[in-house]
């Protein structure tokens, strides 16, 4: 098979240059490494050389084949191979194929090896095989074509199969190794977590979102005094305790449904032995990668000692050690709570109880007996009144108080007072003594909105004194007139003159808001008296006396000065957003010749613009067309100060005078709105009266303010009725100037409900 082309016709740059460096690859067929074989199909002296083939077409086709072959391997994958290495590969494989084509005997294994070499160099693309076979087929192959191509393809395929399996094995092994190492690391990490979980000083429990407890640590077992099997498999819902803080289970439901991610509460649990353990509980939600809740982790810290101490301190602070009844502190806490967010129209009752003749018992039979008597009385009161839902507290000495929350009316309060008296009707047995104890009761029953805790207790106390004075062993009902009289009689009138000098008065301001948009339009100045013994007194408790004694004049001036100074400060700070100032003008002030002069001076010294001031007068200020007061009121209006009629509808005013008064506003007395919530009164009629007052005022061109507005529904209805402004708890209670300033600053915000 002597098929060598003429010597020297092979382009040297493609073949010759590779020279001796062509020895690459690890093939065992040594004769394939002959440097010239790849390019010279026939070589003189070669041991395997067969019959020579000198046909020029053979040579040409071999050259063309070599070129095509090089082109095939340089394309595609070939770009990633170093050009030198690629050249050697081209020579090697082309040489092998030549020998397979020409040598005698036919060596198909050379072709197979060429195929394998391609795969070794990572020519694994089947397109390479297809093109290679195509190139081989266009060679004159003397009938060897099918066998040669078959051998080449088989060699390529076998090598590819081997290579694929080898690589798959290698990557599989790498994956296994990586996985093993990861598992090892995971086990180590898990061991660390397990140790952390197990040895944590805080109790930790893991549960699923169905509430099944999956794992608990040692600290939690100790906390519950339980073995793991006692807790595992139990459900979180079983751990309910009657003293659970309200909201804890709602928070739990929100957590497991994914609405919140954690919560914290102090929560009691029953230990395995039935004891109660108090814990500080934190529960966190664990979600999967998609955010779906999967686990809950609870961390519990034992706070039993702290909790018990706290409870003992709290009980001590709020309970009377002698009788076990709530003490003064506890009573005031409860009472003040009533005033925090009362329902509209909410009422309450107080029975202020004082034992009759207790001092005698104490003095004659000794303190021990006295104490036993107090304890027995306390027991009777509690037994009689607690079942009715009332709170009995000991205020001190022989004074007790009954608090009726959500009182339905005077009758109920009176009934409670009667129950008190009945409970003490039978004598008390202390040792050998049969002690007949009576009691006097002052009963107060009011709408929450009309008073304050301090004023209510004081009023009940004064009512009690009236009961005592009236002859003991009886109850007396609060009477506002009597109350005012009692206040004045006992303490007020005597002290008031010095109070002004001592700076015991101060002023709160109550908002008046526009019903149209809820904005703050004015504030009413309300004078208070911080009485050293009685606490803070409201104007209704001392203004009457001040009028009687004439002290209203200096007090009224002081109020005007103070309030105008404050209002001017607001104008400086907030400009147009500052509210109008409303100040009450007593009848005596209105009739005073000095009023206009005082006003002029005060406006000048404070710098308050007159149009920011409105004086509130009552219907009784002007009693007829010839009234002196009318003149000074006109002079006030001439200053630029406006006037409004306060508490309209409570006096017996002659409506005819209303048109002669130089007023620009009218305030409908709070009792009209208050009566709407009185179950004994016709609501429909109440609204018609208010509506009538509003249209009356509007027909006179007056701005109407509704007083005593305590809820949004009433406010809405008043607004629809065309009422201009409103005042009342719904729009804000009397407040310190700083609170008002905050309110003005945040005036873009809606009114507080």
């Amino acid at each position: 098979m002597s098929t060598a082309p003429p010597e020297g016709t092979v382009p040297p740059e493609r073949h010759g240059r590779t020279g001796g460096r062509d020895r690459t690859g690890g093939h065992d067929s040594t004769d394939l490494h002959h440097p010239t074989l790849p390019t010279h199909p026939s070589h003189p002296g070669h041991p395997h050389q067969g019959r020579p083939d000198t046909r020029p077409d053979r040579y040409e086709s071999a050259t063309r084949f070599h070129e095509e072959w090089a082109r095939l391997l340089q394309a595609g994958h070939g770009v990633a191979i170093h050009p030198g290495i690629l050249r050697r590969l081209v020579s090697r494989t082309a040489g092998l194929l030549h020998r397979a084509q020409l040598e005698q005997p036919f060596r198909p294994d050379f072709a197979a090896e060429a195929g394998a070499l391609l795969v070794d160099a990572r020519f694994t693309d089947p397109a390479v095989l297809a093109r290679a076979v195509e190139l081989l087929q266009i060679q004159p192959l003397d009938g060897r074509g099918p066998a040669l191509c078959g051998a080449f393809a088989a060699g390529w395929a076998a090598a590819l199969r081997e290579r694929t399996l080898r690589e798959q094995e290698a990557i599989r092994l790498a994956a296994d190794t990586a996985r093993q190492e990861m598992e090892k690391a995971l086990r180590a990490s898990e061991a660390r977590f397990r140790a952390l979980f197990e040895s944590a000083a805080i109790g930790i429990g893991l549960g699923d979102v169905d509430g099944n407890i999956l794992a608990v640590n040692r600290a939690l077992q100790e906390l519950f005094g339980a073995r793991p099997e006692d807790l595992q498999g139990r459900r979180v819902g079983d751990l309910v305790h009657p003293e659970d803080t309200p909201g804890v289970w709602e928070a739990y439901e929100e957590l497991i449904s994914g609405k919140r991610d954690y919560f914290q509460f102090d929560k009691p649990y029953y230990r395995h032995d039935g004891e109660v353990v108090w814990t500080h509980l934190t529960v966190s939600l664990i979600r999967d990668d998609d955010g779906k809740p999967v686990y809950q982790v609870a961390m519990l810290e034992d706070i039993s000692d702290r909790y018990r101490l706290q409870e003992r301190l709290r009980h001590q602070a709020t309970h009377d050690p002698l009788t076990g009844l709530p003490n003064r502190v506890a009573f005031f806490e409860r009472l003040e709570k009533l005033f925090e967010e009362p329902e509209p129209g909410a009422r309450f009752g107080l029975c202020y109880v004082d034992l009759d003749g207790f001092k005698v018992v104490n003095d004659s039979l000794g303190h021990d007996t006295g104490d036993q008597l107090l304890a027995a009385v306390a027991g009777r009161l509690e037994a009689a009144l607690t079942p009715l839902g009332h709170l009995v507290a000991r205020l001190g000495g022989d004074e007790f108080v009954v608090l009726l929350e959500n009182c339905r009316g005077e009758q109920e309060a009176v009934a409670a007072a009667k129950t008190v008296l009945a409970a003490l009707a039978k004598p008390v047995l202390i040792g050998d003594h049969r002690l007949a104890v009576g009691a006097s009761v002052g009963v107060l029953e009011r709408r929450v909105a009309t008073t304050t805790p301090g004023a209510a207790v004081r009023a009940a106390d004064l009512t009690l004194y009236r009961a005592k004075e009236a002859g003991r062993g009886r109850w007396t009902l609060f009477d506002p007139t009597e109350n005012a009289r009692a206040v004045s009689r006992y303490t007020v009138s005597v002290r008031m003159p010095v109070a002004l000098d001592r700076g015991e008065f101060f002023i709160d301001y109550q908002p008046l808001c526009s019903l149209a948009d809820g904005s703050l339009v004015a504030v009413e100045a309300l004078v208070r008296w911080r009485h050293p013994e009685l606490g803070v007194l409201g104007p209704e408790e001392f203004i009457g006396i001040a009028e009687e004694t004439g002290l209203i004049m200096p007090l009224g001036r002081w109020v005007l000065e103070q309030a105008c100074t404050q209002a001017a400060a607001w104008v400086r700070e907030f400009g147009d957003a500052a509210p109008q100032l409303n100040v009450n003008l007593a009848v005596r002030q209105a009739r005073s010749a000095g009023l206009v002069g005082d006003l002029e001076r005060i406006l000048r010294s404070t710098g308050l613009s007159p149009d920011k001031l409105q004086l509130e007068i009552t219907e009784s200020t002007v009693v007829g067309p010839e009234d002196e007061a009318l003149k000074s009121l006109h002079a006030v209006v001439d200053l630029g100060v406006s006037l409004a009629v306060d508490d309209f509808g409570t006096g017996w005013s002659n409506l005819a005078y209303l048109r002669d008064l130089p007023v620009s506003g009218l305030k409908i007395a709070g009792s009209f709105v208050g009566d709407l919530h009185d179950p004994g009164k016709d609501t429909h009629l109440g609204w018609r009266i208010i509506s009538g007052l509003v249209s009356l005022a509007h027909s006179l061109g007056l701005t109407v303010t509704a007083e005593g507005v305590e809820n949004g529904a009433d406010a809405d209805r008043l607004r629809l009725m065309g009422c201009d402004w409103a005042q009342g708890w719904h729009f804000g209670r009397p407040a310190r100037p700083a609170d008002i300033a905050r309110r003005i600053a945040g005036s873009k915000l809606p009114p507080r409900p």
Binding site: H77, A80, H82, T164, M182
Partner: protein, 268 residues
């Protein structure tokens, strides 16, 4: 990120992995069905991909050759993947037989494979580390030792920075590496770019979004910025086939179709 050091990384063979997908593109069988499925879909959308990968591999070869001829015999190959075909140590040793290479990858399987392959090679090391925690990467003993000698080191960031999202600040990572390099060191960098085939950028990034290594293609300017502090070797940042071709025909008629961009820089 966000995983503490002492919590092991996962080896999720059901998810395609960039290193094994790359191997498939290059005609290898170091891959699993999930990798092949992803690669086949990618090729279906963008038939040039295998050619681009080969082009990238060819760039790596030419760049390693270039820096080795420039005298560098230390290599830090970050994101080395599965270095079966034309591994850096083989290529470098053609010129510098003493070449040392530290291969770094964050995929535990790629690392395990490299370790099996290089078990007997005393001058090569394999480190499992994450470029995103570049300080941790630099602190690994094998890396620290490579840098400590004070001899120039070639940092290879070949087809790896496009797996760093903008949130992970690729420029900061490169500058941290740069600051740790001895004088005379080099940066070899290639990066998937949206310049050549803007039409392909969207769908191709979408495909990688489901993998542990989402793809962020960047424009030429952003890629040039990564060479901050390095003097770029001529011709600068160019399409893969345009960088120091073996011969003029090597560039091919449409270098922009090999949409990746590449460059080599020496520390200033």
């Amino acid at each position: 990120m966000g995983r503490p050091n002492w919590v092991p990384a996962g080896t999720d063979l059901d998810k395609p992995n960039a290193a094994r997908v790359y191997d498939y593109y290059l005609g290898g069988s170091h891959n699993f069905e999930a990798d092949r499925e992803m690669a086949r879909r990618a090729i279906e959308l963008w038939p040039d991909l295998p050619a681009i990968m080969r082009s990238n591999r060819a760039f790596l070869r030419r760049a390693v050759q270039h820096v080795a001829e420039a005298g560098i015999s230390r290599f830090l190959d970050i994101g080395s993947g599965i270095p079966t075909f034309g591994a850096v140590h083989e290529m470098a040793r053609g010129i510098r037989p003493e070449a040392r290479v530290v291969y770094v990858d964050r995929d535990p399987v790629a690392v395990a494979h490299s370790r099996l392959l290089l078990a007997d090679d005393l001058l090569s090391e394999v480190v499992e580390a994450d470029l995103r925690s570049v300080e941790d990467l630099l602190a690994r003993p094998e890396v620290a030792e490579l840098l400590a000698a004070g001899e120039p080191v070639a940092v290879l960031l070949v087809a790896v920075l496009h797996f760093i999202t903008d949130d992970d600040e690729p420029a900061r990572l490169v500058s941290t590496l740069r600051d740790a390099l001895p004088p005379g060191s080099a940066l070899v960098l290639s990066h998937a770019s949206m310049e050549g085939r803007p039409d392909q950028a969207g769908p191709h990034q979408d495909l990688y979004r489901r993998t542990p290594t989402p793809l962020t293609m960047r424009g030429r300017d952003r890629i040039v910025e990564l060479f901050d502090g390095f003097d770029l070797v001529e011709p600068g940042v160019v399409y893969l086939p345009e960088w120091h071709p073996d011969n003029p025909e090597g560039i091919g008629p449409h270098p922009e179709r090999m949409s990746g961009m590449a460059g080599v820089g020496f520390l200033r």
